[in-house]
Symmetry: C2
């Protein structure tokens, strides 16, 4: 016999198996709930098998955050991992460490939790999985773990069935669930209103695939009627597809909905493997959500041995002028080009190309004069005449400059002034093409001294069938991060998947877009309350390259055809450098405009991009946020405040300042008649002496805000 292992069982063996099964079933039925509390005792996580189905529950100060909710996964071509389980082990442990991020909102981060790991076995299929819960003072993280085992070596996920049973019809700050984009305006509504407001919420995008009238994205910010703030997201998204949430608007149960690949599968898994962490941050104080480091803590420490090449970056760029339509990425007005068949030296230039030698040098001069680290230059490479919307494969080669962009000379010039040029790799979603050129492109960057790249994935993923957030693409983004690290290159990924705290593991991931950024102020505008929400939603996963600092709020000043305007006062633009945390901050407006407002521009020059400490002074999602942050290695603090379209008066206490020290506060505020629509550029700057005992009252105009620098007196 060729396969003795597959011989039929004897009757005795069969009855023995049945007995074992029965025992395990009884064990399962009689299993008691497991419970673990947060270090401060305020959160309680319970786990219970209900008739073989794993469930969990989360309470905060005795209040229900997540009602008993099912856990499990549906597999393709085999029975599910949702029921028939017995609990075969449960282990608890406590963990407390303090680690130092390469860059961040505070000098050190405490990672303190109590853990419960429950091992579950399906007697019938002889398969085992583990659910690991970590309960922090600020919330819960849990993941599925699939140990190496004979009966579960490879499997395909049909759907993950993780539930989040909410305790009520909460107020939600939500985006339509989409496999390809997060560039939607946040809708603020009750969960029960999602369905009715979905259609209007789905505005057009270069690539978009919504999946349900009640499908939502993460991070999802919620507020209960009794004042609990709850944020649901994921951490450490690696080799798995991105999770969305499907709302049952009758029961208020959210359920995981993974991004499918080209054939509809939602994940190919080889054991041993872990899912990403599913995260629930909770507090009765809104500011605690903003300060939570739970998502970062659930990521693995970096394996990079040398991180000296990773540095926060403040930059300007040849960018906003193209976004507004004042200049162009392309060098000619040709259409339908094939990359290698055009001799650009023989083609008539369009005269509007932004990334030309003389103009880039102006930016370099401006950056050097004002102490910026870098200049982003988009549209430097050939192919921009015909780059978008055609599902073109060979769209860019990432190494061939237009004839009016002298790579060597411009990098030499920049570096002679202690400035770097930031590389731009727009892929147009043509991912195979990008990977084919990646090594060469990074070698090219090393050769000329580029140390950071902005990547872009505008449009549908090519080859078609893939989605921006499927497992294949998640794998791609991380591949780029690893390749970049091997070349000591920092990455700022646009149109990539929303971050999930991966910058702890890959600290060269210094920025992401993954939401509506400032560019939309030129495409019709963002809501006035946009920046009072993003820190509660998108930024929970990691920093955003929001590109603030637009002083010329009327886009028509640059392009008469463009009637958009920035839905923010000028003063609020300054506040964003503090409220939108990022180690990568752009001064996005044009030098010619900054030169007209050098007094206000001084704040952008002064503000730090890396921090020793962070405080939330005031916060309410959708209404206002006021942060205070202490500059890394310096005694200076910076305060930023943003409010919604109603305006408000902010009262803040400078008690965070160091005892015994005197500071000079420079306050960049909206003028009394400022208004984001009617009078956005009206600002006032005043100085006063303050100490930690000072209390300040500061008005924010509608769609406004303020920024304060606090410099130790005499420094």
């Amino acid at each position: 016999m060729k396969h003795p292992a597959s011989r039929p069982l004897t009757a005795a063996a069969r009855s023995g198996q049945r007995l074992l099964l029965l025992c395990l079933l009884l064990l399962g039925l009689t299993a008691r709930a497991e419970e673990v509390k947060s270090p401060n005792g305020q959160l309680t996580l319970s786990f219970e098998l209900q008739a073989g189905v794993p469930t969990y529950r989360l309470r905060y100060k005795g209040r229900e955050v997540i009602k008993p909710s099912k856990l499990g996964l549906e597999l393709k071509g085999t029975s599910s991992l949702q029921s028939g389980f017995t609990q075969t082990a449960a282990q608890q442990r406590s963990f407390d460490e303090t680690w130092t991020p390469v860059w961040g909102e505070s000098k050190t981060i405490r990672n303190h939790y109590n853990e419960l790991a429950v091992t579950l076995t399906q007697a019938e299929t002889q398969r085992t999985m583990r659910v690991r819960f970590r309960v922090f003072d600020d919330g819960l993280g849990f993941r599925y773990e699939f140990p190496r085992q004979p009966k579960l070596d490879y499997f395909t996920i049909k759907e993950e069935r993780t539930q989040f049973a909410l305790a009520g019809d909460h107020k939600a700050f939500w985006l339509p669930g989409d496999y390809d984009t997060q560039e939607y305006s946040t809708v603020t509504s009750k969960l029960s209103e999602v369905r009715g407001r979905m259609k209007a919420a789905v505005t057009g995008n270069a690539s978009q695939t919504t999946f349900s009238p009640t499908g939502l994205q993460t991070p999802l910010m919620l507020k209960s009627q009794d004042g609990l703030y709850i944020n649901i997201h994921e951490a450490a998204l690696i080799d798995y597809s991105c999770m969305h949430l499907e709302l049952n608007d009758q029961t208020m149960v959210l359920e995981s909905h993974l991004t499918p690949d080209a054939v509809g599968d939602k994940g190919l898994i080889q054991t041993p493997a872990n899912s990403p962490w599913r995260t629930i941050i909770v507090s009765d104080k809104a500011g605690d959500i903003l300060l939570s480091k739970l998502v970062l803590n659930l990521n693995e420490p970096t394996k990079f041995k040398d991180v000296s090449w990773i540095k926060p970056v403040k930059y300007v760029g040849v960018w906003w002028e193209m976004i507004t339509g004042k200049s162009t990425w392309s060098y000619t007005n040709m259409d339908n080009i094939k990359l290698d068949s055009v001799d650009y030296r023989k083609v008539k230039p369009n005269g509007t190309h932004g990334a030309n030698n003389a103009h880039v040098k102006e930016y370099i001069d401006f950056a050097a004069q004002h102490g910026f680290d870098a200049v982003l230059v988009e549209g430097w490479n050939t192919g921009w005449e015909d780059w978008f919307g055609k599902h073109k494969d060979y769209v860019f080669d990432f190494v061939t400059p237009y004839p009016d962009f002298d790579v060597q000379e411009l990098n030499r010039y920049a570096q002679s002034k202690n400035v770097r040029i930031i590389m731009h790799h727009e892929t147009s979603g043509s991912v195979r093409n990008y990977e084919r050129h990646l090594d060469t492109a990074f070698q090219f960057m090393n050769k000329y001294g580029y140390n950071a790249v902005k990547t872009g994935y505008v449009g549908d993923i090519v080859p078609l069938g893939h989605k921006h957030y499927d497992q294949w693409m998640i794998n791609h983004y991380n591949y780029v991060l690893e390749k970049a690290a091997a070349h000591r290159i920092m990455v700022n990924g646009h149109e990539a998947v929303r971050p999930t705290g991966l910058s702890r593991t890959y600290p060269n991931l210094i920025g992401n877009e993954a939401a509506r950024g400032t560019e939309y102020e030129s495409f019709g505008g963002n809501n006035a309350d946009h920046t009072t929400i993003l820190p509660f939603t998108r930024l929970i996963g990691g920093p955003m390259d929001y590109t603030p600092g637009i002083f010329q709020t009327k886009v028509s000043a640059y392009n008469p055809q463009n009637t958009s305007f920035v839905h923010s006062t000028l003063a609020r633009q300054l506040a964003l450098y503090v409220t939108m945390y990022s180690p990568l901050q752009m001064a996005a407006d044009l030098p010619e405009t900054y030169n007209k407002h050098l007094d206000a521009f001084q704040f952008i020059k002064d503000v730090a991009v890396d921090w020793d400490d962070t405080k939330v002074l005031e916060a309410e999602p959708g209404d206002y946020i006021t942060y205070a942050r202490k500059a890394k290695g310096r005694s200076s603090w910076f305060v930023g405040s943003t409010c919604d379209e109603n305006g408000r008066t902010s009262s803040i206490d400078l008690g965070f300042l160091e005892p015994g020290k005197k500071y000079v506060a420079t306050i960049y505020a909206d003028a009394p008649d400022a208004h984001y629509e009617r009078n956005p550029q009206a600002y006032q700057i005043r100085k006063l002496n303050v100490t930690r005992k000072t209390k300040l009252t500061q008005r924010c105009a509608p769609g406004g805000g303020y920024a304060i620098s606090l410099v130790e007196a005499g420094r």
Copy 2:
């Protein structure tokens, strides 16, 4: 107004347009047929617009080969390119060149045709396409050309609708149409019998996707009842999906059926672009089909400036022993491995690993002793424990050897004996992974002195949704060829798409599999007539790495568990070196076996792999083929003959030998009692003196054949 170009037409302009349309329609209706003949006048191609629908027709010596057949393409999301055409130009020209292939069946190749290019315009859509016909003495090639034009810049093919209306219910030598494999046994039947025999024809394969009960592959070999031999295939398959044929078994019309991508599209085209050539080789002599160079001629000349590194290769290899199950590719008996997490030095070896240092040196010694150029070594690299069938992404890295394979020492040893090791890159179909490693893998080859690689694509393409023959994969195979050429590496592609004469353009493509090779003799066997058909079908596109030379026809001699046997006599195995043209020829059996039959082995040592001239002495598809070929740069000739399961007596005329010269013929023939099933190893070798006046009669056993070397006397 923002878009003046889109202003509504005035009434006058509209009526002008209508008039133009009417004129063009009338022109179309009254257009006369275009006609072009082959240089020798025996073939006549006619083109005619029938009520705006392009059609063509092909006659050979007045007999109908292709009855009036429609041309055109169905597009996605826009109107088709099938009707509404007017003929706006028709150009004829003649062409005659003789070119020298880098390697081949003859020293030079004549490329001689009359051409007709018909320009067709759809008045309504303002789109233009061209159909270019080239009529050779041995057949017809035609393609679609899509010039650069404003109204047709990018388009997606829904289906190509090229018809081949056959004149009768021909005898066909066919394989089931499949998007993923050609590894089927040829069925010989009337076209009307295809449907009934399809189910049995679809045997199992590691990756397969049939699409229709009457879907067929190309090259499709046909024979009409009145004795016309017709072969339908394609040439120059570049940036387009591979064509199959859909048979209408009522009308005997074949229609093109392209391979779809992951979302069902059949080709993304950017103009200017051309389709591959659709080829129809025709003759009333079977041997003319075998001698046709039409497919090669329709490919572009190579752009390689230096081809000195491309050389035909005769090789042995650590291969058949794994195919039979005598040894293993893998070094251990682990399962479910992750490539980077295994320390092979700490794992127990299985003791059956073929590619170990000592054993590879034995092959190198054998190769050196007998004058072979190279040794293929499979299973040299880590990952073979868990490489197949799991749609695994990171399955191989192509640079890490098993601990018992010393890359540096073995290459040094081989090269010291004037032998090269042939690299093996099995991808397991995980194409992104291969492309990610391609540069590094080729650099690794350059470092150690490998100059040829055998690639493999066993199993489903990963990412799932892609097919072995879709446009995305066609692009991949050509990408590998170009990358390899940049590293001066020759490629032998297994499980890749069937060749279409691309070796003219990429002469480093020295081999392909793309059919059932000798390996199937260990997987249950090939039909006894298999090698009397392949030169009429698969080999029309290019050489096949058939890996002949199996002397030990009982596989059980190597592996008692394996009851397969080779469906060929030993003498026929020798004939295959002549009948299965390839610049890459393996002596596939084990040295220990060759050492027992050194007399017969002498033919393999002597036979050339590159030729100055080729004659077909006898041929009938499915029954027998006898070739004579003159060794490149030498006076020696080699004859090979293969026959079907019935056996036969071959009568051949040596009139191809040079006048006035005397030759010693060494005839390797089946013994009188030889039989491919009952007595396959019975052979006889005899020598005789011959001249061009000699006529030989030689019997072939059932499933047998013979091989003759003809060496100038005194040399």
